[in-house]
Structures are given as C-alpha cells and as structure tokens.
C-alpha cells in the first residue's frame, strides 16, 4: 500500500496550505522590501537565483540517481571534475558551448564510473561516492596549473518584453544560459519522472526492484542510465561554476555545494519542485552573504546588528541552515525503498 502511495504522482488532491502560506508570506515580504529598497531587493533576488543554480542542478542529479535506488554522495566530486575540465576545454577551444557540452560528457563519464562501482562492482554506495570526491580533489589539484588565462564566460541574455517586468523580469527573464537551462530542467525532470514510462520504470526500480524485474524491466540498465543522466546534471552544475559564475577554476571551488544539493533533495522529498524550493532558500542565504556589504546601509535600525556580525558567522549560515533543514525534514520524508541496495537476481 505504501508503495502505491509512493508511486503516485504528487497529486493535486490535497491542497498544500502550509506551502502556499509560506510562499505567499515570502512574496509579501519581497514586495515590502522592494517598496523600501528596490535596487537592493532586485540584487538579492537575482543573486538568489544564480546562487541556487548549481544547488538545484546537483539536487536534480541526486533525484535521478536516488529515484532509481542508487545513493550518490559523489555529486560534489562530479561537479568539481566537470568544472575543471569544462574550464580547460574553454581554454583550449575558446568556445563556451563546446566547453559546456564537454563538461556534460565529463559528468556522464564520472556518473558511469559511479554506476560501475555501485552497481557492477557492488562497492558500498556511500564509499563509492567518497572515492569520487577524494579522486576529484586529488586529480583537479594535481593537474591544475596556476595562471591559465580565462577565455570569458557566459553572459546574461534577456528575453524581450518579459525582462522588462519589474522585479520578476530581471530575476527570472534576464539570466545566463545555464541558469535558464536549470529552470527548464526542473520541469523536464518532473515530467520525465512522473509523466513518462521511463519515469515509472525508474521509480519502480527504486522502490521494488524485484517486482520491476518480474514485469521485464532491466533493473541494472535503468539504474545505469539514470546515474549517467545524474552525472550529466552534476556536470552542468560544474560548468555553471567555471563557465558562467566565476570564469576560471579555483581549487575546491565546489565548497560543499554537492552536499548541500543532497540536503535540498531530501528537503524536497525527492521531487524537482520541492528541491527547487529548498535550493532557493540556500541561494537566498548565499545571496545575503555576498550582498551584505552593500546591504549594510539599507538595513532598518532594528536590524543594524546583522551588518556588524563577523563575516565568518554569515559564512556559516548556509551550512547551519542545511543542518536545520535535514534535522527538521528527514524524519517526515521517506526515501525510495530500495535505496543503497545492490540488486541481484535470485
């Protein structure tokens, strides 16, 4: 019974009043802030979307893997390797599109490696992910040469008319391509998982592989493909870091984003839109952190103390938030039933 309930699409039958309440509350808050300080508000919101891009891409990667029953703790490493090689491709070819596609391929390759370890070689899946993370730090550190000059990064594209809407325009309709792609991919992954035969198979394999097998689904093949797709999404997150956000590579530049992605995935109960909500929350915390210097003078007197906090405390915010979110949500969210288990035919 639990399985059928779980397999069902997130239905519209029950209206999520709490969610609606929280989001409309936030919307009112944004409007009030906009009335008081329009420029700062727009800057924070734009930064929120950009900062949440690698997080939601990483979370989508996690969703693809885990819905098919494979834990992927190596998203952090996948991002880092793809960010590094994507940057190198850009240095060599000078073509941002080729570099981004290259990063996707690298992500797919590392995803295939994760699948090989956790499906074929039956390595404990958490250790398999840890191998990827350590290997990523080592390899990118070893092959990284200082002084590689950047060949530019993706710049913002504005959608005509839509971008002129106040607040919503600059925040949603004037973004660089990978940020746009991440917004579209949320919908794509949602449709893929909940409206297609492939999604049904994926979820069946993640919940009850033995049953899926008896109806003729090739369990390990479905898992392999999903983990590789997940790798590509993580690769795109890496490409975002070097080819869209920073423009060059820095050691360990992922900075825990892959792990935050996993927390966000749990927060969103393994659904793309839920995870998006979570990543916006983290994007917001990061945006506040990066904009705090500019916001200092705009804070009302009763909030002035925030501007005086040591930067390290503001730096902790996203991580403390992740812990709080996990502690608050994990108990109420149920992961796919067959997660972490190797499937072997009887």
């Amino acid at each position: 019974m639990q399985i059928t309930e779980r397999m069902a699409r997130p239905s519209a039958a029950r209206i999520p009043w709490v969610t609606i309440g929280v989001w409309s509350g936030l919307a009112i808050l944004v409007l009030v802030a906009y009335a008081r300080a329009p420029l700062a508000t727009t800057a924070v919101l734009t930064s929120t979307i950009r900062q949440s891009t690698p997080i939601i891409l990483g979370a989508l990667a996690g969703i693809m893997c885990e819905r098919s029953g494979v834990i992927n703790i190596g998203i952090e490493g996948m991002m880092l390797i793809a960010a590094f090689l994507g940057f190198l491709f850009n240095v060599w070819t000078g073509d941002l599109l080729l570099a981004t596609l290259g990063a996707l391929l690298v992500g797919a390759a590392v995803g295939a490696f994760h699948a090989l370890m956790s499906i074929t070689l039956k390595v404990d899946q958490i250790i398999a992910g840890t191998v990827i993370n350590i290997l990523a730090v080592g390899l990118t550190g070893y092959f990284y040469q200082q002084g590689l000059t950047t060949r530019g990064k993706w710049s913002s594209v504005s959608i005509p008319l839509l971008a002129d809407i106040p607040v919503v325009g600059p925040v949603f309709f004037s973004n660089p391509p990978i940020t746009f792609a991440s917004l579209i991919l949320i919908v794509v992954v949602h449709v893929l998982l909940f409206r297609t035969a492939w999604g049904l198979r994926t979820r069946a394999v993640g919940e009850h592989p033995a049953a899926a097998d008896t109806v003729g689904i090739a369990v390990n093949r479905v898992r392999y493909i999903n983990v590789i797709i997940g790798g590509m999404l993580a690769g795109l997150a890496g490409a975002f870091l070097t080819l869209e956000s920073v423009g060059s590579f820095e050691r360990n530049m992922t900075n825990g984003r892959g792990f935050v992605s996993l927390a966000v995935m749990i927060f969103g109960k393994w659904t793309p839109f839920g995870a998006w909500g979570g990543s916006l929350l983290f994007g917001f915390a990061n945006a506040l952190q990066s904009q705090i210097q500019f916001l200092k003078n705009q804070l009302p007197p009763w909030l002035a103390w925030i501007g005086d906090l040591p930067p390290q405390f503001i730096g902790m915010l996203p991580y403390v938030l992740t812990i709080a979110v996990l502690a608050g949500f994990v108990g109420r969210a149920r992961p796919p039933a067959a997660i972490g288990k190797v499937y072997q035919k009887e």
């Binding site: 390595v123 404990d124 840890t130 191998v131 080592g138």
Partner: protein, 371 residues
C-alpha cells in the same frame, strides 16, 4: 575447518592465525601496490620520471632520522583520525567530520595552552589535551544526536559541521583569541605556554606514543568491553540490537562522542606537540585521509597504525618529491583516492589476483537517508 585447526595444538593455532593475518593483508597491500602503479602512469603522462619521484618520496619519508621523525609527526593525527572513523564504522556510522572535530580540539587545546600560565607541565598538558578531546567529542555529539533523534544522515551533517567548524575557528583566531602581540597581522592564537608543550619521552615524541596507546585502547574497547559489544551489534544489525534491549540511539550518540573525542585529541596533540599554537587552515584534508586509513585498515584499530604510517610517509616525503622530480605533491591525494577505490572495490583486486572471495566482515553503510 578453522575450528578443527584451532583445537589441535597451540602451534597449529598460531600458524592458523598467522595465515589468516596474511590473508587479511593481501587486499590492502595489493591495493597500495596497484595504486602506486597507476600513480606512476599518471606521473609519466604528466611528463616526469616516476622512479625518481617515488625514490624521492621514500627518501623524504624514511631516508634519515629527521625524515622518520617527520613521518611519525605526520602519522600522529592520522592515527587519531583513522581510529575515529574506524570506531564510528563499527557502529554503522560514517564520520566524515573528523576534520571539524580535530579543528575544535586544536583551537581549545591552544586556548587552554596560552590562557593559563604558571601551571606545572604535569597539570597543564593533560588539562589542555582533555579540553581539546572534550570539545571534539561535543562537536561530534551534535551529529550523533541529530542522527539518533531526527534521523538526519551523519554524512551530510558532519560535512556541514566541518564548514561551520572552519568558520568558527577562523573567527576565534581572528577575533577573541587572536595573537595581539605587536607585529602579528595573521590569524593565529598566541603561542601556548612552554609548560603546555608535549615533551619527548626517551627521544620519542609523546604524541606518537599516545597515538599507539589510543589504538590499543580502542581495540580493547571494541573487542573486550560491553560497550564495544553493543556498538558492534548496533553496527551489524540495528533492529536486532534494539530487539536485544540495546538502546540504539544511545549507542549512536556514544559512538560519535568517542569518535569525536579521538579526533579532538589528535588536534590537541598536533597543536601542543608540533605547531605550538592554532592557525586556521591546519591539517586540511585530514577527514578524507582518515577514511582511506580506516578502510585500508579494514576498520581494525591496530592496523590503523601501519596504514597511518604509510600515508604519513607519503605526506612527509611529498615535499622532497616535488623538489627532486617536479611532480606536484597533489599526486599523493590521487594515490590515496586510488588506494581507497581498490580497497573498497575488493572484487577487482580479487579478480586480478585470482583470489576466492572470503566471507568476512564487510562494512555496510548505505542504509539510506532515513534510519
């Protein structure tokens, strides 16, 4: 079969135990060899001579008494980190947070070390060590309690706590506990009092002696005490443990507390024995090295010692290698990751060596995110 042998005579018994020890060592040793071989290929690809690089590596870690001293110095925090991870593994927990626990231990040991003056060394040293260990334990207790009472997975919470610990200690060394002596502009605490520095005992640093002692203590705790039995039972089958009347939550918190205690002690020893003060950016990467060590040692506390010595040797020799052969010291991280891969993917090594799979303890961690 094993039982029949062991009943026959003490001599055969010893022979059997030696044989099983050798059998247990095959996979780790082969993993190290294969990892070094692949590392050599990477060195060749990047245009250097692996023989020159590796001989410089071993020379820098073993070539002289100073080199050996450096290896022991590097191995000391690794032993503590490896023990912390291995002990948590025994309880089915994956502590990636040794790094943060070590940082907290280091900064608090430094605080006790510099803020108290005029205490005799027999009081000051244990006090500072204990302060570090307790702070490490408290930091790990956060992750342990979150796991036990809310189900938040320790892999994510410990990593997040590493970032928080990094920011927190950075703030302490930049703010309230900053070295205010004239001329200092960097983030660091004042130097600890001379009475708080770890002495050498008969020419051997006290730190490595404590590390070896800790390894035996952890072995004793795991295999010879009730707590150890309960920890292992929870690690092998939490629901069976619960059925047998063991409080799974209590054991999870306790395992993390002991694990953090060890990591914090490692940080305190590094501070009082080697650095002499706290500086941010201290022992970066220890958390992941500790995982490699714990798995290379197959979570056996005694085997953590040689595994740490090996990784410590590589760290000690990395500088010499970079100087002599131009191979960047990061190759050490790559080799460590490869070691971890081959130890984890045992089936590859067994296939290469044509070994039969043995039924033994396997570390199982992936119980999902929930429970």
């Amino acid at each position: 079969m094993k039982r029949a042998e062991s009943q026959s005579s003490p001599q055969a018994d010893r022979l059997a135990s030696v044989r099983s020890l050798l059998r247990a060592m095959i996979v780790p040793v082969a993993s190290v060899v294969v990892a070094l071989a692949i590392g050599a290929v990477i060195i060749v690809v990047s245009g250097a001579n692996p023989l020159v690089a590796y001989s410089a590596l071993f020379e820098g870690g073993l070539g002289s008494s100073r080199a050996i001293g450096r290896t022991l110095e590097k191995a000391t925090p690794l032993i503590f980190g490896g023990l912390a991870v291995a002990l948590a593994f025994k309880c089915g927990l994956f502590n990636i947070g040794a790094q943060g626990q070590l940082l907290l231990g280091a900064v608090f040991a430094a605080f006790i070390g510099f803020s108290l003056q005029g205490l005799p060394a027999v009081v000051h040293v244990p006090l500072a060590l204990l302060a570090g260990a307790i702070m490490g334990a408290a930091w790990a207790a956060i992750a342990g309690s979150l796991k036990a009472f809310t189900g938040a997975h320790e892999v994510i919470t410990t990593i997040m706590l590493n970032f928080v610990a990094f920011n927190l200690t950075d703030w302490l060394a930049n703010g309230p506990w900053k070295d205010r002596s004239p001329g200092n502009i960097v983030a660091r605490t004042p130097a600890v009092a001379p009475e708080a520095r770890l002495p050498d005992i008969a020419g051997v640093p006290l730190g490595i002696l404590l590390a070896v002692l800790a390894a035996f203590a952890v072995w004793w705790l795991i295999w010879r005490t009730t707590i150890g039995f309960e920890l292992r039972t929870v690690g092998q089958n939490a629901s069976a443990a619960k059925y047998a009347g063991i409080s799974v939550r209590r054991m999870m918190v306790l395992a993390m507390v002991i694990s953090g205690f060890l990591a914090g002690l490692g940080g305190a020893i590094e501070t009082l024995g080697v650095v002499g003060r706290f500086q941010p950016g201290f022992n970066v990467g220890l958390g992941f090295q500790a995982i490699t060590i714990a798995l290379l040692a197959r979570t056996n506390p005694i085997a953590v010692i040689p595994a740490s010595l090996l990784i410590g040797l590589m760290q000690a020799g990395a500088g010499r290698m970079q100087f002599n052969s131009g191979v960047a010291s990061e190759i050490i991280d790559v080799i460590q990751a490869l070691i971890l891969f081959f130890v984890a993917a045992e089936s590859i090594i067994r296939w290469v060596l044509r070994l039969r799979a043995e039924e033994g303890e396997r570390v199982t961690l992936s119980s999902g995110w929930g429970s």
